[in-house]
Amino acid sequence: MIKALIIEFHILFLIFLTFLLDFFLPEEKKGTILGYLNAILLLLGILLFFYFRNYIDTFIGDFYLDKFAFALKLLFFSAAFIGIMGSIHFVENELHKRKAEYYMLLLTSVLGMSILVSSKNFLLFFIAFELMSIPLYVLSAIKKYDRLSPEVGLKFFLVGAFSAGIMFFGISLIYGASGNLDFIKIKANVFDITPLFATGFILLLSGMGFKIATFPFHSWLPDTYEGAPESFVAFLSVAPKAAGLGAIFRIIFEVLPSSRSEFLLLIVILSAFSMFIGNLLALPQKNLKRLLGYSSIAHIGYILVGVAAGSEKGIAMVVFYLFAYMFSNMGAFLFAETVRNTIKKTDIDDLRGLAQKAPVLSLSMLIILLSLGGIPPVAGFWAKLYVFLAGVRAGLWYLALWGAILSIVALFYYLMVAKRMYIENSEEEFRTNMPLGLKLAMIICIAGILFFGVFPKILYNFSFWAAGSLLH
């Protein structure tokens, strides 16, 4: 049934529309018009998800639109919507001659993610993975003549391509061990894990590990976050990771035979180390974006607690966490973009006395920081609580304790940022330069954090609904 592809058709329509309009629109207005057009159509798409709901559990070939994929697609749409809103001014003012390409590449990447979380075949899986990744390499270096951009592009590309290679090799080994590329057939044919299968699977997981930047595959992330354009990083820090985690869930629950405890132990170790490394390395950072980069490594550690739980609750809580994380982390990077847009730098020391000069902006950042740090009563608190609850239910209380203790370190550096804004003073001028799109995107993030902080039940029920489809 072709209907299963309806969400992908929506994105494809956007890409082609952008492509066509690129020829007709005047150069100096292109960024704004295309940006708002795409944002509105993405918002329309998000609203249409109520209608797309009717097509759940349809499939075409090895492409399944199940509830889990549906929920993640909603997340990609929201992230793309916020990301595009937040980058309109950047595209218009700082990109020359490549304005439409920015949106097209971003949407292509969303298309890749959208297919990735739906695919139940390793060939489709790999193609979707590359469709998601390749535009991101281009986007990270899109400020072509910027001093940092080729370096960022090269580092991100080399690590990404390397991970793709490892993944591809891993898939070939899994194919060798099972004789199939189809998830369902592999699960039906493989009863015990042979060394060949295990090697392939670990290589596959490492490849995914690069994408979601878990320890020990995290080293590319801070550099990329520091060098790439902020409003793009807002998107990069959320959507590809969500896609990667969705894919990891799918391969763990739909490819691995039921005796998967060793692999879950592997994930426990990755989780513990990611939390540790991310939080500790974030402490000495001087640059806001690098700090957020390291903190997002730690967040992946928290999310992996839910993965390691290996239960329906675990999956649901990860979906919950991803939504909360989307609002908070995108908000944080949009704040960084505002700061850069105003004073051209993003060092933490430049935030001194911001609360006096830009009270509303600082208050929003304070809320975002509290959400990232998991302080009640904002969305991030529920996310962390639920993930730990799922972890302890699965007997991982030591991991939850480890995470809870390390989240003190996290709060410590989040509060350092808050301290710069609220407690310290500086004479330097700060005239907030926040264009309309950025403002709207920021308002959406704050509204999301507060809304799901006060009414977590809505998101909770949605996550549970989504998680049910992965485990039969």
């Binding site: 302080i375 009640p376 609580l385 302890v392 003190i408 410590f412 609220y422 407690i423 909770y460």
Partner: protein, 457 residues
């Protein structure tokens, strides 16, 4: 004390502040005083109910979000702490009127928010809201100490935040364990996680190092609340959750906790005696007093629990008053060193009167409310084990060491510092604050019946 009212009143006040200029100091302080008095007046309504029947339990709000219970309930024990909370907040806001000189809007917003958070914390009947407000109470104090604190506020703030967050981490893990049914009443790990969290907050002996710094460097209003209310979060959690969740594991660790609490009593008193900074001296005395509270709670005798709650209330009043007195001195002389004072009793007789009064209350002189509290605790100690009672009977002597040292070095003796000759005595505002606190000390000292009636089971 309607739950929405608690949430809404600081929010309304913050919105009102939005329209008021920073220059209108009086208006801002009067508004926030008014909003912080609302819950205080409301609590008299509950006082009437509980004096009628102390066993009443009024459920204010319950709901369950995804299987996690949220219950808010008021009973006579939590009422005592809520009453104390709503008494101390208006007084300290009132005191700050000429103590806090800059960024007053923010100051009042943080104060009002922490008042509501603490009210809600004492109202929580289930673990999750308790934890939520436990964590939330850090944020206002982070800014109160950080922005309006003293010279060494940086290090004090680090210590305060680090220790409190650490306690939050232990508490979170413990709570998650309990909610998932992983820790039952026999679980030693669960008990240790909870008791570590509370021991940091109370603070018990090895975990107390954050307290002197934070209390000394906070602005006066902050110190009053830190000592008066924030320490009670720990003892309240100890009474409300720890003893009820892990009764079996508690028996196993009971002696250790009793030992630590006795050690805290004497250690705190001796450390207090050794201080040269007046505020630090009072801060250390808190360690000593909180030891009494924990000891009383551990006795599992009704007189012990009564005494412990009596002491919680007294400690809030008396230590709060002492911090305010030191704040008065500091505001005028900009020093807190004992060596800078001496012989001011003739210059500021009214100040000296209150200083002596509250110092004697710390020693638990008969006639002050502290006497009743400490007597009840020691009494329960004698009933459990004669040895405990005998050891505790020495505690007032140790308290006399530091309290009389403070009195002697500040008020009596020769006047060495000539700058102090022009020291002004108490003004009207300070008198109002101190008289209202004295009222409780003397009233409950001579006539403790209503309190004992409220806590009797």
């Amino acid at each position: 004390m309607n739950i929405p009212l608690l949430f809404v009143s600081p929010a309304i006040c913050s919105i009102l502040f939005f329209f008021i200029k920073e220059e209108k100091r009086n208006l801002i302080f009067n508004l926030s005083l008014l909003f912080s008095l609302i819950p205080f007046l409301l609590s008299f309504y509950f006082l009437k109910i509980f004096l009628f029947n102390p066993l009443t339990k009024i459920t204010l709000f319950t709901c369950s979000i995804n299987g996690l219970k949220f219950a808010f309930l008021i009973e006579s024990f939590s009422f005592i702490l809520i009453f104390l909370n709503n008494l101390l907040f208006p007084l300290s806001i009132y005191f700050s009127k000429d103590d806090i000189l800059f960024r007053i809007k923010e100051f009042n917003i943080w104060m009002l928010f922490s008042q509501s958070a603490l009210n809600l914390l004492f109202l929580s009947d289930s673990l999750l809201p308790f934890f939520i407000f436990w964590e939330f109470s850090i944020i206002p104090f982070y800014f109160l100490i950080g922005i309006w604190g003293g010279e060494r506020k940086k290090i004090a703030n680090y210590k305060f935040v680090f220790y409190t967050l650490l306690s939050g981490a232990f508490l979170l893990t413990g709570i998650i364990g309990v909610l998932t049914g992983f820790f039952d009443e026999k679980s030693k790990i669960g008990f240790l996680l909870f008791s570590l969290a509370f021991a940091i907050k109370i603070p018990l002996f090895p975990f107390h190092t954050w307290l002197p710094d934070a209390h000394t460097e906070a602005p006066t209003a902050g110190s009053v609340i830190l000592a008066g209310i924030l320490l009670k979060m720990g003892t309240w959690g100890f009474y409300k959750f720890l003893l009820k969740l892990f009764p079996v594991a508690f028996l196993f660790y009971k002696n250790l906790i009793i030992f630590l609490s006795i050690f805290s009593i004497f250690y705190g008193a001796l450390m207090s005696f050794a201080q040269e900074d007046l505020k630090r001296l009072i801060a250390y005395s808190s360690v000593s007093h909180m030891g009494f509270v924990i000891f009383g709670l551990c006795m599992e005798k009704i007189s012990g629990i009564q005494g412990a709650f009596f002491q919680m209330f007294n400690h809030g009043i008396v230590t709060g008053a002492l911090f305010i007195l030191v704040g008065i001195l500091y505001k005028r002389t900009h020093t807190r060193k004992l060596s800078d004072f001496g012989g001011i009793s003739k210059i500021v007789p009214r100040f000296s009167f209150y200083f002596v009064l509250f110092s004697l209350a710390t020693i638990a002189l008969p006639g002050t409310s502290n006497f009743v509290g400490e007597f009840l605790v020691i009494f329960s100690g004698f009933f459990t084990k004669i040895l405990y009672g005998v050891i505790l009977s020495f505690a007032p002597f140790f308290a006399a060491l530091y309290a009389l040292k403070a009195v002697k070095r500040t008020l009596w003796g020769e006047l060495k510092n000539k700058n102090l000759l022009t020291l002004p005595d108490l003004d009207l505002k300070e008198k109002v604050i101190l008289i209202s606190l004295t009222f409780f000390v003397i009233l409950l000292g001579l006539f403790p019946h209503p309190f004992l009636y409220l806590t009797y089971r």
